[in-house]
Amino acid sequence: MRGLHVYVLLAAAVVSLVYAHLLNSYWMHVAIIAMFYGILTASWSLLAGYGGLFSLGHMAFASVGGYTSALLVQWYGIPIPLGMAAGIALCCTLGGLIGWVCLRMSGPYLAIFTLAFSEIVRITFSTEDQVTAGMAGLHTAPLFQSASRLPYFYTAFGLLAGSLAIIGFIVHSRWGLFLRAIREDEQAAGASGVAVARFRILAFAVASGFAGLAGGFYAHYIGVMTPSVGSLDLMALVVVMTVIGGMERIPTAVGGAFGVELLQEFLRAYGQWRLVIFGLVLLLTMRFARNGLLTPLWLQFLRVSDSARIPRSPRPTREAGREGSGG
């Protein structure tokens, strides 16, 4: 039996599903894109927040997932879900491989390595225009033959919910505990019996798989794939979203995606100045609220909802070791 906060979130989810049709097309698009980023920030949080693996190749994996699915559907006429699954599988494999290559790297070395990987992927997609249509953009098959965005909304919602369920399960399992131990001290984790290499590779493979899923959905939603999906601009946006929300908890990372995406729309009138504003918010977050702006709110929400359920007494055994990992 989980805390009351789970039921509060489920209720909110049901309400948003029931009333989704009231959103106009524009705001529905914003919500869909926010959910796309939600999958990316949650999985990047697993990698960077839990595992301490500060990878800058996450959007590159999203573009690999998108192109793989789009091209397979175009070439072989396979069903789109199968194409997306192939994209996920390729991203998992490639992610695991990158994780294996980067085994001894951390901090800035890992960031620079994955940055280079990301640029290689982007330039390859850009240059190989006979296959990928390069900067002109690869037209992709739409997921639904529908004029309304509502089916996409439900799909994005389902994918985000599924991703959160799986990532949430991972971070609350012993795997999540081991990942955090590796983040805190790799040597001590090894001495404590944690197979450090295996879990680092696993974290990369799983997180990359989710990036591939997000990329695949994006490709078949937007209708066109361009190499800029894997650009550093978008990677920076994912980092900004996750860090501003709070990278060490999945709900805050997803909250960051929603918050920043909404802000992007509200501040659209300011054009490129929006990015300056986000930069400033990021600076202030790093200086004054390193755990993210949403973390205190989330912790307060957990406290309030849990105190409504049980009096402040010793925690149940199974929960005891898991506090601190958040929701």
Partner: protein
Amino acid sequence: MSRNGPLVDGVQLCKHFGGIAANDGVDFAVADGDLIGLIGPNGSGKTTLINLLTGHLTPESGEVFLRGKRVTARPPHEFAALGVARTFQLTQLFGRMTVLENMLVPGLTRPRSTWAAVTARARTYLEFLNLAPVQHLDAKNLSGGQQKLLELGRALMLEPSVLFLDEPFAGVHPQLRGELITRIQELHHSGRTFVVVDHDMESILRVAQRLVVMARGQKIADGLPAAVRADQTVLAAYSGL
């Protein structure tokens, strides 16, 4: 009781760092039930030896055996799985995880372990180490001495056959040092094997049943504490002669 030879057996271990022989053909055997004090001046190769015997370093030559099984160059987690636990010279905890979570990590790496059983066992050890009242604090918030105790507790969670403690008394308040020594002795009496590295001769002599002395990357003495203390080579190494 040894099965297929000593519990831990390091044979002719060699390791160099930038041309300096940190370990130069060191033989080091640990039998079941030993409580060995490993001493030596700074830079004599004690920590390197522990790192070699726990998989944190790979020897350039020489072999490591655990109960007769060759484990040279295996990763640290495999040593842990085979019952070798250790602590570090500078305490290495999972700082932003709670005291209890620190204890759960090694417990949950064991096959077929369950959260409930591991949590119960962790709580028992935390009681034993007087850390139960702080179990929900982040490990980084503990005092230096408590951190040493927690590191010992975390090592115990592996239910190891042998524990290598690297300078467990360094920087610990004398009162807490006494407590640490008592805990080590109690654990030893309950059947655990220890190798304790330290500079603090007084503390080491209070616990050790066998003393091994290192100097300049070599083992220069190995035997009963009284005999080793009287050894002229040891005195020379310690007084820098």
